[in-house]
C-alpha cells in the first residue's frame, strides 16, 4: 500500500469509531514507514471535522464520544513512536474540567470535552460531582492552563464561586484561568464571581477557551 492508502485506511478505521481497527491501522502506518506525526495529524484533522459536524447537529454526542475513544486507541500506538523520535504533538492547551459537587448533570460537560478534544486541546475530565479540593489537587498534578467548572443547577453554581475563592486562598488564582458554564450560569454570574471566561453553550465555550489560551 502507498503512504496515501495507509493513511486513508487509518482515517476510515477512525471514522468507523472502531478502537481495535484504529489501533491496527495506526500500527500498519508505522510499519509502512509513515511519519507518526503525519498519522497523528490524520486523526486530529478528522476529529476536528467531526466536531464541526456536531456543531451543525449532523452527528451527535455518542458519535463524538466513540470517536474520542478510537482516537485515544490510535494514539496509544503512535505516541510512543513520537517520543522515541522526540517529536512533539502540538495541543492548543491543557484543560482540567468537571461538574461541581452536588451536580450529576454532565451531558453539557461531556459535549464540551469532546468538542475541546476535537479542537486539539488536551483535556483531563474529572467527571461529575467533583469537590473543590479535587479540582485543586488535580490541577496541581496536571498543571492545566484552564480549570473549567460546570453547574446545571442554581443550587450548585455557588461551588464555582467556592473554587475561585479556594484558589485565591492558596495563592494559585493567577496560575490558572478559570472558566465556568452550565445551565444555571450566566455571563453576569461569571463576572460576579470573578471567572476569567464563560460560554453559554459548548461551541461558545471552545472559542472562549481558545481566547484565554492565547492571552
Amino acid at each position: 500500500m502507498s503512504k496515501e492508502e495507509v493513511l486513508e485506511k487509518l482515517r476510515r478505521s477512525f471514522l468507523s469509531y472502531d478502537e481495535e481497527a484504529t489501533r491496527k491501522a495506526a500500527a500498519e502506518a508505522l510499519a509502512a514507514g509513515v511519519d507518526p506525526l503525519e498519522a497523528v495529524s490524520v486523526l486530529t484533522e478528522t476529529i476536528r471535522e467531526l466536531g464541526e459536524k456536531f456543531s451543525k447537529m449532523e452527528i451527535f454526542l455518542p458519535d463524538l464520544m466513540l470517536a474520542a475513544d478510537a482516537m485515544r486507541a490510535g494514539l496509544t500506538v503512535l505516541k510512543p513512536e513520537l517520543m522515541k523520535r522526540k517529536a512533539e504533538t502540538r495541543t492548543l492547551g491543557k484543560i482540567l474540567i468537571g461538574v461541581v459537587k452536588g451536580d450529576i448533570h454532565d451531558i453539557g460537560k461531556t459535549i464540551l470535552v469532546t468538542m475541546l478534544e476535537a479542537e486539539g486541546f488536551e483535556v483531563i475530565d474529572l467527571g461529575k460531582d467533583v469537590p473543590i479540593r479535587k479540582f485543586v489537587e488535580e490541577a496541581q498534578t496536571h498543571n492545566p492552563d484552564i480549570i473549567a467548572a460546570s453547574a446545571l443547577m442554581t443550587t450548585t453554581r455557588p461551588e464555582q464561586r467556592g473554587l475561585i475563592e479556594y484558589l485565591k486562598h492558596l495563592g494559585f488564582r493567577d496560575k490558572y484561568k478559570v472558566m465556568v458554564g452550565g445551565g444555571a450560569v450566566t455571563s453576569q454570574y461569571a463576572e460576579e464571581i470573578g471567572a476569567d471566561g464563560y460560554g453559554e453553550n459548548a461551541p461558545e465555550a471552545v472559542e472562549v477557551a481558545k481566547k484565554l489560551i492565547s492571552k
Binding site: 456536531f54 456543531s55 447537529m57 451527535f60 454526542l61 455518542p62 458519535d63 464520544m65 466513540l66 475513544d69 459537587k101 452536588g102 451536580d103 450529576i104 448533570h105 451531558i107 453539557g108 459535549i111 443547577m153 442554581t154 443550587t155 450548585t156 455557588p158 461551588e159 464561586r161 445551565g183 444555571a184 450560569v185 450566566t186 453576569q188 453559554e200 453553550n201 459548548a202 461551541p203
Partner: protein, 491 residues
C-alpha cells in the same frame, strides 16, 4: 362506592386461553415497587460508559432505522398514525432491550413486557390534586380531544429572587385558568446563597413552599396544588413535607431522572418519598436531542421509553415529556425539532398508554418578557400540544437562565390559546402553528438573537401584581393577530 366502582373494571386478557381480572385505576402495590427496585442490586452489571455507548446508543440507532422514524420539519404536529404507532413500538423495544441503569450500582433494572403492559393498562386515567375548592382532576386526554387541557404554570425551576418570589407566584395563581403551581428556585434565602447539600438548601426549600402557599392565600386559592422542587438529594423535599405548613399530600413533586434511561438512588429516594408520603410525583425525563440518544428521532423514542419506564419505576401515571436540544435550546418548547419531537412523544403516549400528560407550551421561551415573540413562542406549542392530547405547562422566559424572568401572563396566554385550540383537527392546527412559527423563526439560535425583553419587576406592578399597560397591550395585540389567523378564543 360509586367512585370505587368507576375505578374497577373487568379487563379481559387472553392469557393461556383464560381470562384474568386486573385491578384498573390504581398504581402498583408497595411490594411490587420494591421488587422492581431490588433489581438495582441484583440486575446484570454494566458500567455507565458501556451502557451509554455500547448498549443504549446502538439500540436507539438500530430501532430508529428499523421502524423508519423520521423527523420532517414540514409536519410539526404528527398526522401520520403509522409513525405514531411505530414510535411507540420502537420505544417499547428499546426499553425491553436496554432496561434502566441504576448509576449507583451500575446494574440494569430490566422490565418485562408483561409488567409494562399491566402497568399501562391499569394505571389510573385521572388523578386529583389540590384540595377543597381548589382541587382539580387531571385526566388522560386523547388526540384531538374535545376536553380542554389543564394548565400548570410557574417559574419552572428557573431562578427567582427571594424579594420577588411571592409576587411572581401570585401572578401565576391569580390567573383563573391556572390549575397547578410549578416551583421556582430561590437564589438566596434571608440573604444567604442557596447551595446544594448545605443546610441553606433545606431552609430554602421550606421557605420556598411557604412563599408558594402564602402567594396562594393572597390569590384566594389556598388549596391549589403546588409542585415541589427536584433537588440534589431527597432531603429538601422530605423536610419541606414534614414541616407545619409545608407540602401537603394533595401537592406534587418533580421527579427528573438524568439522561438517558438512568435511575440514580437519590431519584428512587425522591420517588419513595412521594409513595410513602402519599403525594403525587410527576416524571420529567430530559431526552436530549443531539445528546446520548442521538438526533431528534432517537431522542423521541427514548423520551417515550423513559416516560413509560419511570412511570412504572416511580409508580405514578403523571408524565411530562421534555426534550431539550443539546447546543442551543435548553428546553425551549418552541424550537422546531424540540416541539415536533415532543409532539410525537406525546402522540405515542396518549394513543397507547393510560398516562396523564402535561407538557411545556413554554417550558422556557428564548425571548424575555414583554416582547411579542415570547407570546408567539408560547402560542405555537400550546396549540400543538392541546390538539395532540397533553395538558399544558407555562414556564419561564430567556431560556430559564436569568433571575426573575417569568410572569403569570404566560400562563394566561398558554391557557387561552390552549382552550381556543380545543376542537381543531391536526392538519388545520399544523398550518396555524407553522404560520406562528414564521413570526419568531428569525430570533432562533444559532443565527438569530432573541430579544432580552424585561424581567418580572420591570413589566408588572409588584404591589398590585398586575401587568403594566404596555405588557397587557402587547398581549392583546398578539391575541388579535392569532384571531386573524383563525384561532377562535373563548373570550
Amino acid at each position: 362506592m360509586g367512585k370505587l366502582r368507576k375505578n374497577w373494571k373487568i379487563w379481559g386478557l387472553a392469557t393461556n386461553f383464560r381470562f384474568v381480572t386486573l385491578r384498573v385505576g390504581v398504581e402498583l402495590s408497595r411490594s411490587r415497587v420494591w421488587e422492581l427496585w431490588r433489581r438495582a442490586e441484583t440486575g446484570p452489571l454494566c458500567p455507565e460508559r458501556e451502557f451509554d455507548l455500547k448498549r443504549f446508543y446502538p439500540a436507539v440507532k438500530r430501532l430508529v432505522k428499523e421502524y423508519d422514524i423520521t423527523y420532517d420539519p414540514e409536519t410539526v404536529i404528527p398526522t401520520d398514525n403509522t409513525l405514531i404507532d411505530d414510535a411507540f413500538k420502537a420505544a417499547i423495544d428499546l426499553l425491553l432491550e436496554v432496561g434502566v441503569l441504576c448509576t449507583d450500582t451500575e446494574k440494569i433494572i430490566k422490565l418485562e413486557e408483561g409488567e409494562i403492559k399491566e402497568a399501562l393498562a391499569t394505571f389510573p386515567k385521572e388523578i386529583t390534586v389540590g384540595e377543597g375548592k381548589d382541587a382539580v382532576t387531571l385526566t388522560h386526554r386523547k388526540i384531538e380531544d374535545d376536553k380542554p387541557p389543564r394548565i400548570m404554570g410557574g417559574p419552572n425551576g428557573s431562578p427567582i429572587s427571594e424579594e420577588m418570589a411571592i409576587p411572581i407566584y401570585q401572578s401565576y395563581i391569580q390567573e383563573p385558568m391556572l390549575d397547578i403551581l410549578f416551583y421556582g428556585t430561590p437564589t438566596t434565602v434571608e440573604g444567604m446563597e442557596v447551595k446544594a447539600g448545605s443546610p441553606v438548601e433545606l431552609y430554602a426549600e421550606i421557605a420556598n413552599v411557604y412563599w408558594m402557599k402564602e402567594a396562594a392565600r393572597r390569590a384566594g386559592r389556598p388549596g391549589i396544588c403546588t409542585l415541589g422542587a427536584a433537588g440534589a438529594t431527597a432531603a429538601p423535599q422530605i423536610l419541606a413535607s414534614l414541616v407545619e405548613g409545608g407540602y401537603k399530600k394533595t401537592d406534587a413533586m418533580q421527579l427528573s431522572p438524568p439522561p438517558q434511561l438512568k435511575a440514580p438512588y437519590f431519584m428512587l429516594c425522591e420517588a419513595a418519598h412521594c409513595i410513602e408520603y402519599g403525594c403525587r410525583g410527576v416524571v420529567i425525563p430530559s431526552s436530549i436531542i443531539g445528546g446520548l440518544a442521538g438526533g431528534p428521532e432517537g431522542a423521541a423514542i427514548t423520551n417515550i421509553a423513559e416516560c413509560i419506564a419511570f412511570a412504572i419505576l416511580f409508580n405514578t401515571p403523571w408524565v411530562h415529556p421534555f426534550m431539550p436540544e443539546a447546543l442551543h435550546a435548553p428546553g425551549c418548547s418552541a424550537y422546531p425539532p424540540e416541539m415536533a419531537m415532543e409532539l410525537l412523544s406525546i402522540a405515542a403516549l396518549v394513543k397507547h398508554a393510560n398516562l396523564i400528560i402535561t407538557s411545556g407550551a413554554n417550558s422556557r421561551t428564548f425571548s424575555g418578557l414583554c416582547t411579542d415573540t415570547t407570546f408567539y413562542e408560547i402560542a405555537a406549542p400550546a396549540i400543538g400540544k392541546t390538539v395532540i392530547g397533553a395538558n399544558l405547562h407555562a414556564g419561564s422566559a430567556r431560556k430559564g437562565y436569568y433571575t426573575d424572568y417569568m410572569a403569570g401572563i404566560s400562563a394566561r396566554c398558554t391557557g387561552e390559546v390552549g382552550w381556543a385550540a380545543v376542537g381543531l383537527k391536526r392538519e388545520d392546527a399544523n398550518e396555524m402553528v407553522k404560520t406562528i412559527m414564521a413570526k419568531y423563526e428569525d430570533i432562533l439560535p444559532p443565527k438569530g438573537t432573541p430579544p432580552v425583553g424585561k424581567k418580572f419587576q420591570e413589566c408588572y406592578d409588584v404591589q398590585t401584581v398586575t401587568p403594566t399597560k404596555e405588557h397587557e397591550d402587547l398581549y392583546k395585540k398578539v391575541k388579535k393577530e392569532l384571531e386573524n389567523i383563525g384561532l377562535a378564543f373563548k373570550y
